[in-house]
């Protein structure tokens, strides 16, 4: 049986844009991007490439080791800063130059006339990234790959890309069990779901769009008023009303925000959700079912499992995990070992069978071996 490869998974998902997010440096993210873009181009698709921040540096700034560069296939559309293109940019058909200039100059969008190594430098903010992705689509790219990392995770936000591939490897941790656990944790975080109640979800989305921290208060059933932001129901399910605060962030004012919670059922946070906020919320002894709704999993800045229920207004779609079993300096292991370890740990933590692949060796684990009960 021929297992699907990464390009099959991307095509099968129908995603028009995919973020490749690395958990650390040297985990094979660039190799994954090159592999995927070549595979998609090989299947006749026009690929777009952009990075959030800077990547594809020709030598590793720290170790001085030669790093693989991003090598877009011929005909691919790329976006990068003019400062890293060289004066002539001879390999690029320039189709757009942005008005705003960053540290490395304006953002240039163009099509590769031949396949050449290139440094990709792009915008860091989710909003600008999303715009660039759209521009690349406008110019004809069918699948846009967005390079990102856990410390510039905007690429993975559902507002920027349709799906994500997580890249990890031996360089992330000195020990395989740790690699597997930390990967599983990310997957767990990224598996946060939208609230089950569609009305709560709709209200939360609207509240997030307003840009204000908001509370959802349950409306007493008798004599529900037709106020702005409330939902009505003829049956006995709880209904909610949005109560906006003046805050547009919780960072630095976690306590102040939570002191306004009152009897709220949910707090909806439009921006970053810090560990401190979750800890304070847990400490405040709200009603049992009090929950936090974040914009999407990339808004959560936590290192361990949240102490209270957290939902998201937009879910992340994780297509696959790629692993690089070879680390930059120390520990390495067999591809098969790493692929299996990561796959199992992810399944144990989340119950999900996320495909794990090593694009170099070709080893993969689709989780089909896991039975109902895992010992």
């Amino acid at each position: 049986m021929k297992y699907p490869d990464l390009s099959d998974l991307v095509l099968g998902s129908g995603a028009g844009s995919v973020a490749i997010v690395g958990t650390a440096k040297n985990v094979g993210k660039t190799v994954t991007m090159n592999y995927l873009s070549a595979a998609l181009a090989g299947r006749g698709l026009v690929v777009g490439l952009v990075s959030s921040g800077r990547d594809g540096e020709v030598t590793d700034a720290f170790t001085g080791e030669p790093k693989p560069s991003i090598v877009p296939p011929e005909g691919a559309w790329i976006a990068t800063a003019e400062g890293v293109l060289g004066e002539s940019a001879g390999f690029l058909e320039i189709a757009d130059v942005s008005e705003k200039a960053g540290v490395l100059g304006r953002l240039v969008i163009g099509r590769m006339r031949e396949s050449e190594p290139v440094e990709l430098v792009g915008p860091q903010s989710a909003k600008e990234l999303a715009r660039v992705v759209e521009r690349l689509h406008d110019f004809g790219a069918q699948v846009v790959l967005v390079d990102g990392a856990l410390d510039r995770v905007a690429a993975a936000s559902p507002g920027v890309t349709d799906a994500v591939v997580l890249s990890t490897g031996a360089s992330a941790h000195s020990d395989l069990a740790l690699v597997a656990k930390s990967t599983a944790f990310v997957v767990e975080l990224w598996s946060l779901k939208t609230p089950g109640d569609p009305d709560v979800l709709a209200l939360a989305r609207r509240a997030i769009e307003s840009g204000r921290v908001s509370f959802l208060d349950e409306i007493p059933l008798a004599g529900s008023s037709r106020h702005d932001g409330s939902s009505l129901a003829p049956d006995n399910t709880p209904r909610y009303r949005v109560r906006q605060t003046a805050f547009d962030t919780v960072l630095g004012c976690e306590e102040k925000v939570l002191s306004q919670a009152g009897e709220a059922a949910y707090v909806v946070v439009p921006g970053a959700v810090s560990e401190k906020f979750l800890a304070e919320a847990e400490g405040m002894e709200f009603r049992d079912s009090f929950a936090v709704v974040a914009k999407d999993p990339t808004a959560l800045f936590v290192r361990s499992e949240p102490p209270l229920p957290v939902y998201v207004a937009h879910e992340i779609r994780l297509l696959a995990i790629t692993v690089n079993p070879v680390s930059a300096g120390g520990y390495s292991c067999e591809p098969r070992e790493m692929v299996d370890a990561v796959s199992l740990e992810v399944y144990r933590s989340t119950g999900k069978r996320i495909p794990v692949l090593d694009v170099v060796s070709g080893e993969s684990n689709f989780g089909e071996v896991y039975g109902v009960a895992v010992g």
């Binding site: 003019e82 293109l85 004066e87 002539s88 001879g90 320039i94 240039v108 520990y331 292991c333 170099v360």
Partner: protein
Amino acid sequence: MTIWERVSPKSSLGRRVKSRVEPKLPGQEEELRAELREVSSLSEAWKTYPDVFSKLDNVLVTLKDPFHAIILLKEERALTAPEIFVLAHLAFSVGRVRSVMAESKVKWPPRTVPPSLDPVEQRLLPGFAGQPVFYIADSYSPELSRVRTERKAKEKLWRDEMTKEAGEVERLLGRRPGIREEIAIRKTNIQAVEQARLMPELGEVRETLTHVHFRLKATREALRLEREISRLRQKETHLEGEVLAFLSADLRAWKDELEKAAWALGELDYLLRKAELAVRWDAREPVINNETGPLVLEGAFHPGVREEVEGRGGKYQPLSLTIDSPVSVVTGPNMGGKTASLATVGLCVSLAQWGFLPPCSGLEFSLYDYVYFQPETPGKPGLSSFASEVVALKELLTRIEDRGLILLDEVGRGTNPSQGLALYAAVLDYLRKRAGDRSTVLASTHYHGLASHLDVPHWQVAGLSPGDGDLEESDAANGGKDIDWLYRHMDYRLVKVGPDTPVPQDALMVAKVLGLHGEIIRRAEEFVAGAGRCEFRRDEPC
């Protein structure tokens, strides 16, 4: 958003023009008339041919700022490829704008029509159709073309060489490695490591705790090709640089046209924004008089206030008034109607002098050197509102020699009423004496007697319509109306009244309508009625 912020050019070129504009001052009446005529005729054209204008806007919104490139041309420096793209895009956009303009039946002011840049377009975008792209095409330099072809051919040969090597390694690894791949073999796999070390196709790169890393070693032929390729790439870069240099030299001959074109598009953008506003406001061309004369305003509105009122479900009544006296007084209820009136007058005059068609159906006036408007909100921190007012008045008086439209909003409200009133009256008297032959003062107040004391025209905001039928005792009993109700029933029109007409005594009515406890209202009414017409003084018991 302020009105100025609403004037939002589509391009950075338009923004440049916007940042350079100045209002027209006394002495520039003819220029201003010409400017306003332009806006008026274009706004009429917009209503008739909206398609033309949206086509132009579609081009304007894609424009890139070419000034950095133009400066480089002037300094006779070579451009980079992205900068040449920007100029190519400019030439392309100019072509589109010119063709839309030519096909339309609109008369375009000459400074907004960019000169033709067709030769630039042809030079930079040879054989182009559709969206403009720029690259250093082979056609620019036959030698470049030759070098590129040779380089590509050698690269292919190199790849073939390395692929052969990779094929040899396949047997060892069980799979074909990538040409540039770093192959890691586990140390525990002693046999494989030994074999790899013996293979001439593989070179050891480094060793870690657990693996030994190898790369495909280049054959002698591959190495030779690598050197060739490197040399050719250097040549290629050099030739590309030469192409950039001679393209830049060619463009240098066009630098003036390019700059003219850029400014023309900027002027077009800015003018279109003015016309757009005029259409939205259904604004008319004002009459600018050379000689000092009355200020006549008809059907004027403040766009921000109107939006707010209509947003609350109210109906906004436009403002009309004729000011033919150096000082006039405006009174009215405490609901912001006075401030809104002053602001509307100031806005219409200012906009007109900045070259916009103001939001009104008629405006006739003569140009001012300045417009002064001090609204209610105090400015400086650390000073009481009254003290800030005094400081602001001092600043105003430094311009007493010039012709100003002076809009004073409730001066003296933040202090002892009798002294506040006295000070205000004195300020107005001073302005009338010293600047009455040239400046126009509109002063709002909630003090009674200012107009009669100075014997000046007295305008009053119509206010809450009394005979509405909704203002009943029962409303107060039922918790009253809400503040939006009040705003909805506010009539912002100014009506001319006699100098002695009393200031509306509306505070208690407002409180009653809003449902403040009846007992408090009754007591307040007693205080007011006590000892005839008693103004509730702090220093004298009633």
